[in-house]
């Protein structure tokens, strides 16, 4: 487990992630959106795409474009949400040791890594990220 953020970590910029419709309920992104569940074998990080457009809407559209290239079947009722990396790091890493970090994984693809496996801390991390994500998302059909 790392005690400090890696030098190669991303510390600013914006990232987007696609979630299927079942991970969205009542205008809220569910915390399962931040589970490590992608791929076979499973990945050790939660996948995101770094985006560089100027406006929030353009960033969501840019993220949607990456997802469409990567995934064959994306649901139009799914969501794309946007997170500000520096805000996430500031709001989540509020203890002596960092709890999360973002690392490039062949940009624009990048990963969110958990640096703790404590259940309560993971619960807090995911709830914080879901809270932040729930204020900035669009349905896929609004972005196509």
């Amino acid at each position: 487990m790392n005690n400090q953020l890696n030098l190669s970590s991303l510390v600013d910029g914006n990232v987007t992630r696609y979630i299927k419709p079942s991970l969205f309920s009542n205008n809220q992104i569910l915390i399962s959106a931040f589970d490590l569940r992608d791929g076979t074998p499973p990945e050790t990080y939660v996948s995101f795409f770094k985006v560089n457009s100027l406006s929030q809407l353009e960033m969501l559209k840019e993220g949607c474009g990456y997802i469409k290239k990567r995934l064959r079947n994306i649901s139009k009722n799914g969501c794309i949400f946007l997170l500000d990396i520096s805000e996430c790091l500031e709001e989540v890493n509020d203890e002596k040791k960092p709890l999360i970090e973002f690392k490039p994984e062949n940009l624009p693809h990048c990963g969110l890594y958990y640096l703790t496996d404590d259940l309560s801390k993971c619960q807090e991390i995911k709830t914080t990220l879901a809270f932040l994500a729930s204020s900035n998302y669009k349905k896929v059909h609004e972005l196509i």
Partner: protein, 195 residues
């Protein structure tokens, strides 16, 4: 009529071992209305806990032909909804698990603990999901000021919860509820009242 496809034969027999007349008398219309107005639990704690305690849940069976049929006269719509939600949730999760074996097996003890908790949280709007790292059920609640409260119901009596909201800045209240007796699951309402 509703069905619960993830429950087994043993579950059916344990369900039918509960005495109908006792339950029916608890759910007649007048009592339901009074309970609704007073916003108190509509469940007989002992009957409910006893039923859950005797449930034998086998979530590993893929194609279960036997279905548990819930009579409308016995259970409230809410109860049928919770089983429908669970049924869908578990089927979706198992489908995904078939594609990605790394997803943790669903914890039947966590499921039971959720059911013990259910009568005490039914009046709150909530969503349900399965934590793929642990196989535990997670309940999400939303507050009026868009606060989020997530509670991970473990296979022991521990419930790991975290409330996140925004006041001047983002604030968090995180902790663990430790329940040692099934009758004390009602104490979790103290946590929900923070919303």
């Amino acid at each position: 009529m509703q069905s619960i496809k993830f429950l087994t034969k043993q579950t059916i027999s344990s369900f039918y071992s509960v005495k109908y007349p006792q339950i029916n008398s608890l759910y007649n219309t007048k009592i339901k209305d009074i309970y609704r107005q007073k916003k108190i639990n509509r469940f007989d704690q002992d009957l409910w806990n006893n039923w859950i305690a005797n449930l034998k849940i086998d979530l590993t069976v893929k194609n279960i032909e036997n279905e548990l049929l819930l009579e409308e006269s016995i259970f409230e719509v809410d109860i049928k909804l919770v089983f429908e939600k669970l049924n869908l949730l578990i089927r979706d999760y198992e489908k995904e698990r078939a594609l990605c074996s790394a997803l943790h097996e669903i914890s039947s003890n966590s499921l039971k603990n959720y059911l013990y908790l259910y009568p005490h949280i039914e009046n709150y709007h909530s969503n349900l999901n399965i934590d793929s790292d642990t196989g535990f059920l997670n309940i999400g609640f939303s507050g009026k000021q868009s606060e989020l409260l997530n509670a991970l119901v473990t296979d022991t009596g521990e419930i790991h919860y975290s409330l996140v909201g925004r006041s001047k800045r983002i604030f968090k209240i995180t902790g663990v509820t430790k329940i040692r007796d099934i009758e004390d699951f009602k104490q979790f309402k103290r946590v929900i009242r923070m919303l």
